[in-house]
């Protein structure tokens, strides 16, 4: 049903024919604006018009207004009843239209100012959130029976148990990479055995905790944000509060506790698979046997290295849970907001984890750990 909109000027009459509908009017609009009309009154001959919709009617009306503003008078001929009613409707509704309202767009300087203030407010809110979370957590530890164990166990499974395969695999691959990179160099110096030192220290002190935390931030932190954020949009959080249940206790605390338990365990698992990966590569590349590798490991790596790695995990867990949940509560209005806050949550969590890791490194070196 694709017709054409026709426009012909003959004398002082604009003949409009065919289909004056949204689909077919694009070039007619352009033609109309380029038309050179003779002086004096103009009449529209609409007898050959086969179809007219609101866009067509609006175009006619708008053109008439323009012509009338130029001092001409405008008349319509040959308009059948339905078209006349449409035109009348458009005139009545459109007459009061005016400029469309634009959403407020601030200038660049004002924009920077507003954004800075907003960021500072967010930091303040985050600090308040951490404070609130700490209070609720301490209170809960003093009354362990009031903890929501069902939720905690569920989160443990989702965040911890289900993450074992991916964490194990990635740590294993990391071990392989480290052993390869280091082994290639050590081989030239005939210092093959030290690959065990390298893998052991790098993995246990730094890589396993960090990789595990980053994976969990991406996997679980984003899930926390999306879940809480969606609950905000669907008013479930409001429902919780109306039932006298504090969202902090029901939603945040179980996630925090579960992650603080799960992340160190995942890190241990990552340690093991990472070492296995390194051992595998050491064997493949340097011909280092597994027993030799393990023996050297026990000589080179002290318990404090292992403990310092694991010790960082609860701190990372708290960061990931806090950021994930906080960003979830920052969601407002729609699905788009959920997506945005989830992105912020993951990026922020990973950033903070790495910053804190660096701080730990400095602190440990000063303390001789």
């Amino acid at each position: 049903m694709h017709g054409r909109a026709e426009l012909t000027l003959s004398g002082s009459t604009l003949e409009c024919g065919g289909h004056w509908t949204a689909r077919d009017l694009a070039h007619t609009e352009r033609e109309l604006s380029r038309l050179e009309l003779p002086a004096g009154d103009i009449s529209f001959d609409l007898s050959r018009l086969r179809q007219l919709d609101t866009v067509g009617a609006w175009l006619l009306y708008r053109t008439s207004l323009l012509l009338e503003a130029q001092g001409r008078s405008v008349s319509y001929q040959g308009l059948e009843e339905r078209g006349a009613r449409l035109l009348a409707l458009v005139e009545k509704t459109g007459g009061s239209l005016g400029e469309p309202p634009r959403p407020y767009a601030p200038g660049a300087l004002e924009d920077i100012g507003r954004k800075t203030v907003k960021h500072l407010e967010i930091y303040r809110d985050f600090a308040a959130f951490i404070g609130n979370m700490t209070i609720v957590a301490l209170r809960a530890l003093l009354h362990p029976t009031k903890l929501r164990w069902r939720e905690i166990v569920k989160e443990l499974q989702l965040a911890g148990f289900n993450a074992l395969p991916i964490v194990g695999l990635l740590a294993f691959l990391m071990g392989i990479v480290i052993a390869y990179q280091g082994g290639v160099v050590l081989r030239d110096y005939g210092a093959n055995i030290f690959v065990a030192d390298l893998v052991g220290l790098a993995m246990l002190r730094e890589l396993a905790p960090l990789i595990t935390a980053i994976i969990v931030a991406g996997r679980t932190g984003s899930a926390y944000t999306a879940q809480i954020g969606t609950m905000i949009v669907t008013e479930e959080v409001d429902a919780l509060r109306s039932l006298g249940v504090a969202p902090m206790e029901m939603l945040v605390l179980p996630k925090l506790i579960a992650l603080v338990i799960a992340l160190p365990l995942l890190t241990v698992f990552a340690d093991i698979t990472g070492l296995l990966g390194g051992m595998f590569m050491a064997n493949a590349l340097l011909g280092l046997s597994a027993p030799s590798f393990v023996e050297r490991l026990t000589e080179a790596v002290a318990l404090k290295s292992y403990l310092s790695g694991i010790g960082k995990a609860p701190v990372f867990a708290a960061i990931i849970a806090a950021v994930g949940c906080f960003q979830g509560f920052q969601v407002f209005g729609s699905a788009e907001s959920v997506g945005r806050q989830t992105t912020v949550s993951v990026v922020q969590a990973i950033f903070l984890v790495i910053v804190v890791d660096a701080a730990f490194s400095v602190a440990f070196s000063k303390l001789g750990i």
């Binding site: 339905r82 009613r85 409707l89 458009v90 239209l97 309202p101 729609s334 907001s337």
Partner: protein, 251 residues
């Protein structure tokens, strides 16, 4: 539009079992039924969002039962759908929502598109200021109107409304009924509404189809239906709400 012997299963659950109905040009048809009676499913199949298990559907002289998205495109331009919860795009203003079909399907100048969108927003009964607002800033009634404005953006011939007055206060619900009647009178639209609002039925519908137990339990004008012997029809129209709305409609 015609629906012939439509059957739909979701797994073992039979949602529609041999449903047939037709809609004549220029009339307002209401599809009613209890919750879970299949009316929303029926609507989704007619507007080509869902494929039926068996049966056929013709919309605007085209068989849409097995139609592909590509083939459906010209037809979609002639049909407007208003979803139950508005389904406005949350990241766009009302103006952008209503302009969207015009941008996608026409080559009109941005000015003309904007003016047309404003016109549709006004026709749907919204204040011009609401054009710059985002859906999360609108009240329930305003959101439905914005959804209607978007549905009529391309001047469709056929308009589908899914539970237009659900969740609205009585004033807004009345106003929306008025809007539906206006759309039929002024723009000559054929309108299909899915509803269980008894008052709307009396005011707005030319004909009503009652769905129950996955089948058509009654069809006709409201006057005809209230005289029906079918048990579901009696439940619907003889219950407290049914009688109250009937009294209010003076029938």
């Amino acid at each position: 539009m015609e629906v012939h012997n439509l059957v739909t299963h979701f797994g073992h659950h039979v949602v529609l079992d041999g449903v047939s109905l037709s809609v004549r040009r220029g009339e307002i048809l209401a599809i009613v039924g209890g919750s879970g009676s299949g009316k929303s499913t029926l609507l989704r199949q007619i507007v080509m969002l869902l494929k039926p298990t068996a049966g056929s559907i013709r919309v605007l002289d085209t068989d849409v039962t097995e139609i592909s998205d590509l083939e459906a495109l010209p037809l979609r331009r002639r049909i407007g759908v208003m979803f139950q919860h508005g389904a406005l795009f949350g990241d766009k203003t009302v103006l952008e929502n209503v302009s969207m079909p015009l941008h996608e399907h026409t080559h009109l100048s941005p000015d003309l598109i904007e003016q047309t969108a404003l016109l549709k927003i006004a026709l749907a009964g919204l204040e011009p200021d609401s054009a710059a607002l985002y859906p999360s800033q609108l009240s329930g009634g305003m959101r439905k109107r914005a959804a209607v404005a978007r549905a009529i953006a391309l001047d469709p011939e056929l308009l589908f409304l899914d539970e237009p007055s659900s969740g609205l206060d009585p004033i807004s619900a009345d106003a929306l009924d008025d809007l539906v009647l206006q759309l039929k009178a002024l723009l000559g639209l054929t309108i299909v509404l899915v509803t269980h609002d008894m008052d709307s039925l009396w005011r707005v519908a030319d004909r009503v189809v009652l769905l129950a137990n996955a089948k058509v339990a009654g069809e006709g004008t409201m006057e005809e239906l209230v005289k029906s012997d079918h048990p579901v029809a009696r439940q619907f129209f003889e219950g407290p709400r049914g009688r109250a709305s009937r009294r209010a409609a003076g029938a």
